[in-house]
C-alpha cells in the first residue's frame, strides 16, 4: 500500500544546482574581467591572453563532460539514452567549473584537462558518481595539480596574471606571510596590493574565483536565501578563522586589520561558501555542520602558520571531508544538543589553545636572531670573503659556501644537505639559487617554492643571514 506524503516540495536537486550555477556566474565574469579584459586593455595581454581565463574554464568543463560521458557510456556500458539521463543527474559541470576557478592562472591547458579528468573520474565517478563521493572532486583535482605540477606552474608565474606578473612582481598575499619574520606588518602584507578594500573587492592576485570576497559574500546570501547551501558552515568557518587570527594578531600587537586580512585572503571566502558547503561532502546534521566548520577554521589557521601550505583552505576541507561520517554520528545520536556538543567543543577549544600558543611562541622566537643559522668559517682572500655556514632545513642542517665581494654574493654552493630528495630536486629544478643570486638586492621579495617551501626557505635564509653577517643587510 502506497503511503504518504503525496505532496512534494517544488524544490528539486536540479533547481538547487541551477541556483548554484547562477551564483557562480558573477564570480566567473569577474575573474574573466580581472584576468583577461583588464590586462588586455592595459596592454599586457594579447587577445589569446585575454581569452585565456575563459579557455581554462572551457577546457576544464569540457574535460569533465567528456570524462563523465565516457565513464558512463563505456565503463558502465549504458545505452545512449541512459547515458544522457545519468549525465543530467550527475551535474557534470560542477567539478570542472569549480576546478577552473581555483587553479593558478598560469596552469597550461593540458594540465587543466588532466586535473579536470582526475577531479571527475577519481574524485567522483569512481566513488559511484554524484552523491557518493567522499571528497570534494574539484579539490581532489586541484590537490593533484598543485602537488605534482605546483612548482612547474609556480615558475611560469603561478597565480599571477599577465598584468600582475609585471606590476606586482611578488607572491600572492598569503605567501608573503611566510616570507617575513614575525607576523608581518600592514606595509608588507596589505600595501603591496592596495588596501583592505582591494582584498574585499578582489583586485588582488589569486585564483580566478577566489579573490573577490565581496562576490562570494553575495553568493552566500543568495544561496542561503534559496536554501541551496548549509549556511552554518561558511558562517562558523569564517568566524573561527577571524576569531583565531584576531587572538594571534592581538597577542602580537597588530591591529584589527590583521584578522580581516587573514579572512579576506587565501580563497577563504570562496572555499567556505562553495567548497566547504558542497552538500555531498559536508555533514547532514546541524551539530555536525557547526563542528565541521569550527574544525575547518582551526585547521586552516594551523596550516597557514605551521605548515608549508600558506593558504590552507584546500587542505583543511579535504581533511575535514574525512571526518564527515563521524561528525554526523555525533550529530544524529540520541540526547540533547548541548550535551552532544560539549565534548567536541572542548576538544576544539583545546586545539585552538595549543595552536595559538604554538604560533605566538614561534613568532616571539624568530623576532630575535635566527637560531637556525651558524657560521662555520669566514675566510678573507683579497677583496673576497668566503663563508661556510649552516642553516637548518627540512632534514637537518644544510651546509653551504658563499663568496662575497663588495657586499655582493658571487657564488652560492651547497656543500651538504639532507633534504627530502623530491623537494630538494624541485628547488634545484627551479634554479632557485640562481634566482636568489640574481635578486639578492630584493632578497626579501623572492618567493619560496610552493611544495618545497621549507627547503627553499632555508636557502633563502642562508643568503639573508650571510648578507646580514657581512653587514649588507640589517
Amino acid at each position: 500500500m502506497k503511503m504518504g506524503p503525496f505532496l512534494r516540495h517544488e524544490n528539486a536537486t536540479d533547481k538547487m544546482m541551477r541556483n548554484l550555477f547562477i551564483a557562480l556566474m558573477p564570480i566567473l565574469i569577474f575573474g574573466f574581467y580581472k584576468n583577461g579584459i583588464l590586462p588586455f586593455l592595459h596592454g599586457y595581454a594579447t587577445i589569446y591572453g585575454m581569452l585565456y581565463p575563459l579557455l581554462l574554464v572551457f577546457v576544464s568543463v569540457m574535460t569533465s563532460y567528456v570524462s563523465e560521458y565516457f565513464f558512463i557510456r563505456i565503463l558502465k556500458g549504458r545505452s545512449k539514452e541512459e547515458t544522457k539521463k545519468e549525465l543530467k543527474q550527475s551535474f557534470w559541470i560542477f567539478p570542472g567549473l569549480f576546478l577552473s576557478l581555483i587553479v593558478p592562472y598560469n596552469t597550461p591547458l593540458v594540465l587543466m584537462a588532466i586535473a579536470s579528468f582526475i577531479a571527475s573520474i577519481l574524485g567522483k565517478m569512481l566513488y559511484g558518481g554524484f552523491g557518493y563521493n567522499l571528497f570534494n572532486p574539484a579539490l581532489i583535482g586541484c590537490l593533484f595539480l598543485l602537488t605534482i605540477y605546483g612548482a612547474q606552474i609556480a615558475t611560469m608565474g603561478g597565480y599571477l596574471n599577465t598584468e600582475e606578473i609585471r606590476v606586482v612582481s611578488g607572491a600572492t598575499p598569503l605567501a608573503n606571510v611566510s616570507l617575513v619574520d614575525g607576523i608581518g606588518t600592514y606595509e608588507t602584507l596589505v600595501e603591496p596590493y592596495g588596501t583592505l578594500a582591494s582584498f574585499f573587492l578582489g583586485t588582488i592576485p589569486g585564483a580566478m574565483g577566489e579573490t573577490s570576497a565581496c562576490l562570494c559574500l553575495l553568493a552566500f546570501f543568495f544561496l542561503s536565501y534559496k536554501r541551496v547551501i548549509k549556511w552554518k558552515i561558511p558562517t562558523f568557518y569564517i568566524g573561527t578563522v577571524f576569531l583565531l587570527t584576531c587572538i594571534i594578531g592581538s597577542m602580537n600587537g597588530v591591529g584589527l586589520w590583521y584578522p580581516i586580512f587573514q579572512v579576506l585572503s587565501g580563497g577563504l571566502f570562496f572555499g567556505a561558501v562553495f567548497m566547504a558547503t558542497d552538500p555531498v561532502t559536508s555533514p547532514i546534521t546541524s551539530i555536525g555542520q557547526v563542528l565541521y566548520a569550527i574544525l575547518l577554521g582551526i585547521l586552516t589557521v594551523a596550516f597557514r602558520y605551521l605548515s608549508p601550505l600558506p593558504e590552507g583552505v584546500l587542505t583543511s576541507i579535504l581533511t575535514m571531508n574525512l571526518f564527515v561520517p563521524i561528525l554526523d554520528k555525533i550529530g544524529s545520536s540520541r540526547g540533547n544538543a548541548s550535551k552532544k556538543m560539549a565534548l567536541p567543543l572542548f576538544i576544539c577549544c583545546f586545539f585552538s589553545f595549543l595552536l595559538i600558543r604554538q604560533v605566538v611562541g614561534k613568532y616571539t622566537k624568530t623576532e630575535e636572531r635566527d637560531s637556525n643559522f651558524s657560521v662555520v668559517s669566514e675566510e678573507k682572500n683579497g677583496n673576497q670573503t668566503t663563508y661556510i655556514v649552516m642553516q637548518k632545513g627540512n632534514g637537518g642542517l644544510i651546509q653551504s659556501k658563499l663568496t662575497l665581494e663588495d657586499g655582493k654574493v658571487l657564488s652560492f654552493q651547497v656543500l651538504e644537505e639532507h633534504e627530502t630528495d623530491a623537494y630538494y630536486q624541485m628547488v634545484m629544478d627551479a634554479n632557485y639559487i640562481d634566482t636568489l643570486l640574481k635578486k639578492q638586492n630584493q632578497i626579501e621579495e623572492v618567493d619560496t617554492i610552493s611544495g618545497a617551501t621549507i627547503s627553499s626557505k632555508a636557502l633563502k635564509k642562508t643568503m639573508i643571514n650571510v648578507l646580514k653577517e657581512a653587514g649588507v643587510l640589517k
Binding site: 503511503m3 506524503p5 503525496f6 516540495h9
Partner: protein, 404 residues
C-alpha cells in the same frame, strides 16, 4: 519552531456541506477476537450495541438500522439498511456528572479520537493523575482537510458547552482551543461564544505543518515536553470533532455513529464536507461525488494518509478526509546529502542517516527511528524526491520488532 509551510488549499471544500447520507449498506470492521452478540438475520436499530472490540473493550455500534449479516472469515459485520431511522433529538438537560458516570458514558458511546489515531477517549481521562489542562485540537494542519473547521462553524455552541461539562467533571483548571492563525471565520465563531466561559481561551498557533501534532501543540502552548503521553504533565489533548461527538452523547444520548468527512482535492468533481455514517464504503460516496480519471485517491491527509483501497476501505471514526489528487510520477534521484530532511524533522532525528543504516540495527539504536511520527516532511522536502519516510518507518518497525 520546527515545521514547514504548506499550501493549505482548504478553501476548496469549505463552502460546501452536505447532510447525512443514508447508505444502503454499512460494513463495521471486526477481528476474530472480538465478541459479537448478534447473528445473521437479526434486525438492529441505529445505535444498538452489536458486540465489543476486545482491544480496549469498546462497543461495536450499529450506525444504521437494518438487517445484520455476518460471513465467517470476512472481517466485518454487514448491515443492510431497512430505512428505519432512530431519532436522537431529545435534549438532555443534565449538566453534572460524576467522574465514573462520564467515563462509562464516553466508553459506551464508542467515543474515540477523531483526529487520526482513533485512541479511545475514556482511556485518556481514566487515570489517577490530575488533569489540569485540556487542549482542544482544532488545528488540522494538513492541507485540504476542513472537517474540523466545518464542525466548529456548525456546532461551536455545543462544543463549548461540552468542554465546560468535561472541565467540571474532571476538575480541569483551564482549556485552550488551538486554532491555526489567519482563520478569521473560526476565530469569530469561537471567540464570540467563548467569552461566556472564563476558563476557556482560544489560542492561535502558527500556520505550519505538523503544528497539530500533540507534542508540537503541548510544546507551543504549554512550553513543556513529555516522555510518552501528555498526561505526564497534567495535559489531555482532544480533537475538536471528538469533543463534538462527546457533546452528542451528552445532550442527545447519541453514540458515535457518524462523522464529518472532507472529500476534496483537484480531481474531486465537487469538493465538499459530508456527514457520513461510520462503516459506509468510501467507494459508494465517491461514485456520488464523482472523481476525475487519472487521480491518486488518498485516505486521510496528503501528508500522513495512505492510498485508498477502493474495495475495502470504509469510513471509520478516525477518517478525516478522502482526497483525489492528480496522479504524479515521482522519480527518485541520488541523494546529495543536503540535510533538509534532518533540518526539518520535527522529531529531531536524521531520516536520511536512518535510511542509509536501515539494515544496521546497532547504528539504528543510536539514530532512534522510534521517534518518527510519520509526518512525512522528510519525503516532502527531499529535493531528490526520495521516499525517506518509508525507510524510516521500516527501520521503526524493525526496532519495535526487536524489542518484543
Amino acid at each position: 519552531m520546527i515545521g514547514v509551510s504548506l499550501k493549505k488549499k482548504k478553501e476548496m471544500s469549505m463552502q460546501c456541506f452536505e447532510e447525512e447520507l443514508q447508505p444502503e449498506d454499512v460494513y463495521l470492521p471486526i477481528t476474530k477476537e472480538d465478541k459479537i452478540f448478534v447473528k445473521t438475520g437479526d434486525d438492529v436499530k441505529e445505535g444498538d450495541i452489536l458486540g465489543r472490540y476486545t482491544k480496549y473493550d469498546m462497543p461495536i455500534l450499529a450506525s444504521i438500522g437494518g438487517t445484520v449479516s455476518i460471513t465467517p472469515d470476512l472481517p466485518y459485520i454487514h448491515i443492510k439498511n431497512n430505512g428505519e431511522v432512530t431519532s436522537f433529538s431529545k435534549k438532555e438537560k443534565r449538566r453534572d456528572y460524576t467522574r465514573e458516570e462520564m467515563l462509562s458514558l464516553l466508553k459506551e458511546a464508542g467515543i474515540c479520537g477523531m483526529g487520526g489515531a482513533g485512541f479511545p477517549t475514556y482511556l485518556k481521562y481514566d487515570t489517577k493523575e490530575k488533569v489540569n489542562t485540556l487542549i482542544v485540537n482544532a488545528v488540522s494542519c494538513e492541507p485540504y482537510i476542513t472537517s474540523d473547521f466545518v464542525c466548529i462553524l456548525k456546532h461551536a455552541s455545543i462544543i463549548l458547552e461540552t468542554i465546560s461539562i468535561l472541565m467540571n467533571t474532571f476538575a480541569i483548571k483551564e482549556c485552550i482551543i488551538a486554532i491555526k492563525a489567519k482563520s478569521p471565520l473560526l476565530k469569530e465563531a469561537l471567540l464570540t461564544r467563548a467569552s461566556a466561559y472564563e476558563k476557556i481561551r482560544v489560542s492561535e498557533v502558527p500556520n505550519l505543518y505538523p503544528m497539530g501534532w500533540e507534542r508540537a501543540l503541548v510544546r507551543y502552548l504549554k512550553h513543556t515536553d513529555y516522555k510518552n503521553i501528555p498526561l505526564e504533565k497534567g495535559i489531555v489533548v482532544n480533537n475538536v470533532s471528538t469533543i463534538y461527538a462527546i457533546g452528542q452523547a451528552l445532550f442527545y444520548k447519541k453514540p458515535l455513529l457518524d462523522r464529518i468527512v472532507t472529500f476534496s482535492g483537484e480531481q474531486m468533481k465537487k469538493p465538499c464536507n459530508i456527514q457520513v455514517k461510520i462503516g459506509t464504503k468510501i467507494s459508494t460516496i465517491l461514485e456520488k461525488i464523482g472523481v476525475e480519471s487519472n487521480s491518486t485517491l488518498i485516505l486521510g491527509g496528503p501528508m500522513m494518509g495512505r492510498e485508498l483501497d477502493l474495495e475495502n476501505d470504509v469510513i471509520l471514526p478516525s477518517t478525516t478526509s478522502v482526497l483525489a489528487l492528480p496522479r504524479q510520477e515521482i522519480e527518485e534521484t541520488p541523494c546529495m546529502k543536503c540535510g533538509k530532511c534532518t533540518e526539518n524533522c520535527p522529531s529531531k532525528i536524521s531520516p536520511i542517516l536512518i535510511r542509509e543504516n536501515k539494515n544496521n540495527k546497532d547504528a539504528l539504536t543510536h539514530l532512534n527511528p522510534e521517534a518518527c511520527i510519520a509526518c512525512g516532511i522528510c519525503s516532502y522536502i527531499c529535493p531528490a524526491k526520495i521516499a525517506v519516510k518509508e525507510s524510516v518507518q521500516e527501520a521503526k518497525d524493525r526496532m519495535r520488532g526487536r524489542k518484543k
